[in-house]
């Protein structure tokens, strides 16, 4: 195609070769992904600080992969006995496992080894903490609703696997503290009815501690669990891209669109840059804050322990449940059933995990909502949901505190026994109180929103009426804010299904559907519905009426809420704009 298409004076030339286009063409000739990529390159993501929490988890996982790989270059996952003769004076000549000795070697004789160990441990904390907070963000804002339930389930699995990954990694150095953790885990395993003793002997290759558990945990820690984590994270991200991110409601933001900045270049830069920030912060923590100083604990010895022994914080709540559980044990036909271990440490975490997994499905079943949702809800606009999570958090939080009952007793000079008795009661009472309080709190916040819509915001301008009454001037909020506040569902009480409606349906089904309707009505009960146009107009008319000049020629101010249609017009408020008894044109005060 070198035929000139114009009769211009300059000869036609091919465009300057574009290197980017060249590379893209090379790739597409071989993999043919342009059709998919064209939509993704400029894919839009909405902006909000809370959307960054999951990103922290993602990037700290990458930091874990990088630093973990570095550590494997020196770590020896072996329980073979060696005599330490490295640089750490206090332990020289002590018999210990190769795992512990190589951990000391990394900490004292490899340059940057201690740094990588500490970054690895800190980013593990960050990984799990970020997953927890991200999960709560997703729950509180209703981002788990259809079509995102599958991603919720994947997220829960990530949290579970992340905790397991943390526990296996924590056990690898084979120091006194982690060995004590393993010893406890051995006790947990043995408490499982019927198979427990066998599982323990298989896990440790014989009697605890055996010489197999560290190499076995190592394989799980560096291969099996990270592999599954990686696959699930990939799936999690894939679904995120497919669903497109949820967004907060607001002007121009609907269920049908997503408003924000494009992947290329804004999010590539922001998210890519954020990786460096997460890595950088972890590195600074590794430089400045000591974590898990295993050399102070010494090698594992089953006859020794330190006071204040605790698991890493994310394992603290089942440990707390274990601490406050009464010492129940049953002997039946010569067999021993240790309720005091089996219930709090095996059954309870499983139960809590199942509840977590089921939350989206429970809510959807109760409220009977089958629609797709892409707009987020403020926690206050879903009081029962918010209260449910706060109740769960209270339960976990109390157990977590119980996991440190000895530390609390020591630091606050309290009686350990009383703390334990107190928490035994509070784990049942606390969540109920938290649920009720949170629900009322949410509804109060809804009322505050309603007041803003109906009466405007508090301007801070106090006006005095001729009678001497004072009232604060309320000004109308912007239409954009008003729109945002009202961009939520209205819930109508559902009538109970009657027998007649369910003609020919089994009695049990009717009872179920009645239960569901009752639960649904309870779920939404007490909520403040957004105002209708009529209610809004009535409220505005009411305030205009209050402002009106009365027959006696005076304007009466009530001492209550006060509102009107005045605008500040971007001027400094002096109060006189609103009393209606004074001409304001040419007012000196307004000019400033």
């Amino acid at each position: 195609m070198s035929t000139a298409t114009t009769n211009g004076k300059q000869a036609a030339r091919t465009a300057k070769p574009n290197r980017l286009a060249g590379a893209a063409t090379w790739v597409d000739d071989r993999v043919g992904l342009a059709g998919v990529a064209k939509k993704q390159v400029r894919k839009v993501f909405p902006d909000h600080w809370s959307f960054m929490l999951g990103e922290i988890a993602l990037w700290s996982f990458v930091v874990l992969l990088l630093t973990g790989t570095f550590l494997t270059l020196w770590f020896k996952p072996s329980m073979g006995e060696v005599v330490y003769n490295g640089s750490y004076d206090q332990l020289r000549g002590v018999s210990m496992s190769e795992a512990y000795a190589s951990t000391l070697h990394i900490s004292f004789d490899v340059r940057g080894g201690l740094l990588m160990r500490q970054i690895h441990h800190w980013s593990a904390m960050l990984f799990i903490a970020a997953m927890f907070v991200h999960m709560m963000r997703v729950y509180f804002t209703g981002a788990f609703r259809k079509p995102r339930e599958v991603n919720w389930v994947i997220g829960c699995l990530l949290l579970l696997l992340g905790s397991l990954e943390g526990f296996t990694g924590y056990s690898l150095p084979d120091d006194l503290l982690s060995g004590t953790g393993l010893r406890a885990a051995d006790g947990f395993t043995k408490a499982v009815p019927v198979v427990g003793t066998y599982v323990s002997f298989f896990l440790f290759d014989g009697e605890f501690p055996g010489d197999a558990v560290i190499p076995r945990f190592f394989t799980m820690h560096v291969l099996l669990i990270p592999g599954v984590l990686l696959a699930l994270i990939g799936l999690h991200m894939l679904l995120l891209v497919y669903h497109k991110h949820t967004q907060w409601p607001g002007p121009g933001r609907t269920e049908h669109n997503v408003v924000g900045y494009p992947m290329m270049p804004v999010y590539a830069a922001k998210a890519g840059g954020f990786f460096f920030i997460v890595f950088g912060v972890s590195a600074l923590m590794g430089a400045l804050f000591s974590i898990n100083p295993v050399w102070r604990y010494g090698p594992y010895d089953p006859s020794q322990v330190t006071a204040g022994s605790q698991p890493d914080w994310y394992m603290g709540w089942p440990d707390g449940a274990l601490r406050i559980f009464p010492g129940w044990e049953t002997e039946l036909f010569g067999f021993t059933l240790s309720w005091n271990i089996f219930l709090p440490i095996i059954v309870l975490p499983g139960l809590m995990f199942t509840i977590l997994l089921m939350l989206p499905f429970i809510e959807a079943w109760i409220v009977g909502d089958k629609r797709d949702h892409h707009l987020l809800q403020r926690p206050r606009n879903a009081p029962t949901r918010t209260a449910t999570m706060v109740a769960l958090m209270t339960f976990i939080g109390l157990l977590w505190a119980a996991g440190g009952n000895d530390i609390i007793a020591l630091k606050f000079d309290l009686n350990l026994n009383y703390i334990t008795y107190f928490i035994r009661v509070m784990v049942f009472v606390g969540p109920v109180i938290a649920f009720l309080l949170t629900r009322r709190w949410c509804i109060s916040l809804q009322r505050a929103d309603q007041a803003r819509l109906l009466h405007g915001y508090e301007s801070g301008i106090i006006m005095r009426s001729p009678e001497g009454a004072y009232a604060e001037k309320h000004l109308p909020i912007s239409t954009e804010e008003a729109y945002t506040l009202t961009a939520r569902d209205r819930h109508h009480e559902k009538p109970l299904p009657s027998e007649a409606d369910q003609n020919g349906v089994a009695n049990r089904k009717l009872r179920m559907s009645r239960l569901r309707t009752r639960l649904s009505n309870r779920w939404f009960s007490g909520e403040v519905e957004k105002p209708t146009r009529e209610e809004l107009d009535a409220a505005h008319e009411h305030s205009a009426h209050e402002l009106a000049v009365h027959e006696d020629g005076h304007q009466h101010l009530s001492s209550g809420d006060y509102s009107g249609d005045y605008e500040l017009d971007g001027q400094t408020a002096d109060g006189h704009q609103f009393d209606g008894r004074r001409a304001i044109e040419g007012d000196e005060l307004r000019k400033s």
Partner: protein, 364 residues
């Protein structure tokens, strides 16, 4: 390019109430008070309108990248300058190598991160873009075609018409789970009665757990607690220890003990235990009956022994009975006596399994 979505405009308000499935269109209902005012108009930033502000931002960002490069170089320098090992360099009580490497690496990374994000915030376009969502579910025709294809596939396979093939395959596949379990059998030996016995034997000396020295009753003061082990764990044969490595740890896991001396009058031995002590000296398992932590927090005045892991508390004057905490069973007691040379020795092994309980414990 900004597309304003006019979702809330009149005529588009009633979609929610009618559709139970499918997307809820923007929560608009009849009677909603406010129409969608549409997207904000884009507000230009200083860097959008002021060439100088743009240049300044560019310089800031470039400075961060240059500083990051500098930190990276400093990291390499610090790697070789500061020593670890036998005689490590120290700065303000910190290991110099760790501190310098961490700070330079951290700053190098942070500066790249902050610079890049600053670039995105100041210099990249901040015009919001609207992208339309597609329904998550596939179209009805796609679904129908897929189902049809599936049906065709299934019926071609004859899986429905030939139940014998289907069922035998299901059975064979399910059975394949067995090797996955059976092949794990060699993970470890069977428990046998290993958990029920320890290395303690009649006449074995009770020795100090660090030095391995035997103990005479008169050396133990009232109120004192001594961490002890069976003497065999310190035994050597031709200079080799009888127990070492894993075997030593396994033996210790069950055989670790504590020796305490109380006022003989304070002790209330249960039936058959009257002669298990020597002048108020008693010996108990050191392994908690809860999940197996070694216990050693000794309250002299109350004769209570507290486990540091989960705070189970045992009364050693009262046969090791649980007085507080999650443990269910008393601490096993080792019967003591004195041998010919006047040292404390065991009368026998423990009379019950020590440590955490397990399913078959009652058989022992």
């Amino acid at each position: 390019m900004t597309v304003h979505e006019r979702e809330g405009m009149p005529g588009n308000e009633d979609a929610v109430a009618t559709s139970e499935h499918g997307t809820a269109p923007a929560r608009r209902e009849a009677g909603d008070p406010f129409p969608d005012p549409g997207l904000h108009e884009h507000q230009p930033r200083p860097t959008d309108v002021d060439e100088r502000a743009g240049k300044r931002a560019e310089r800031q960002i470039a400075t961060m990248f240059v500083l990051s490069a500098l930190c990276t170089l400093l990291f390499c320098v610090a790697y070789f300058v500061f020593q670890v090992g036998d005689d490590p360099d120290v700065i303000m009580g910190f290991g110099a190598s760790n501190l310098a490497l961490g700070l330079t690496l951290g700053l190098a990374l942070l500066l790249i991160g902050i610079g890049t994000i600053q670039w995105a915030r100041k210099l990249m376009s901040d015009v919001e873009i609207v992208e339309m969502r597609h329904p998550t579910a596939s179209s009805e025709t796609d679904r129908a075609e897929t189902l049809q294809a599936l049906d065709a596939g299934v019926s071609d396979s004859g899986i429905g018409r030939r139940p014998l093939v289907r069922n035998s395959l299901i059975g064979a596949l399910a059975l394949l789970g067995l090797p996955a379990i059976v092949a794990l059998r060699d993970l470890g030996p069977l428990p046998g009665n290993k958990l029920a016995v320890t290395v303690w034997r009649r006449g074995m000396r009770v020795v100090n757990d660090v030095a391995g020295t035997p103990i005479r009753p008169e050396e133990v003061e009232i109120g004192q607690l001594i961490n002890t082990q069976p003497e065999i764990l310190f035994e050597t044969e031709d200079g080799e220890r009888t127990y070492e490595g894993t075997e030593l740890l396994q033996a210790k896991t069950k055989a670790s003990t504590i020796v305490v001396r109380m006022q003989p009058d304070d002790i209330t031995p249960s039936a058959g235990r009257a002669n298990w002590g020597v002048d108020g000296i008693l010996c108990y398992s050191k392994i908690c009956t809860h999940v197996g932590c070694p216990i050693s927090l000794w309250e002299q005045q109350t004769h209570h022994l507290l486990c540091p892991c989960h705070q189970s508390t045992f009364d050693l004057a009262d046969n090791g009975k649980v007085v507080f905490g999650p443990a269910a069973r008393a601490l096993p007691q080792l019967p003591l006596m004195v041998d010919d040379e006047g040292y404390l020795v065991a009368q026998s092994d423990f009379t019950e399994p020590v440590g955490p309980s397990y399913w078959e414990r009652g058989d022992a």
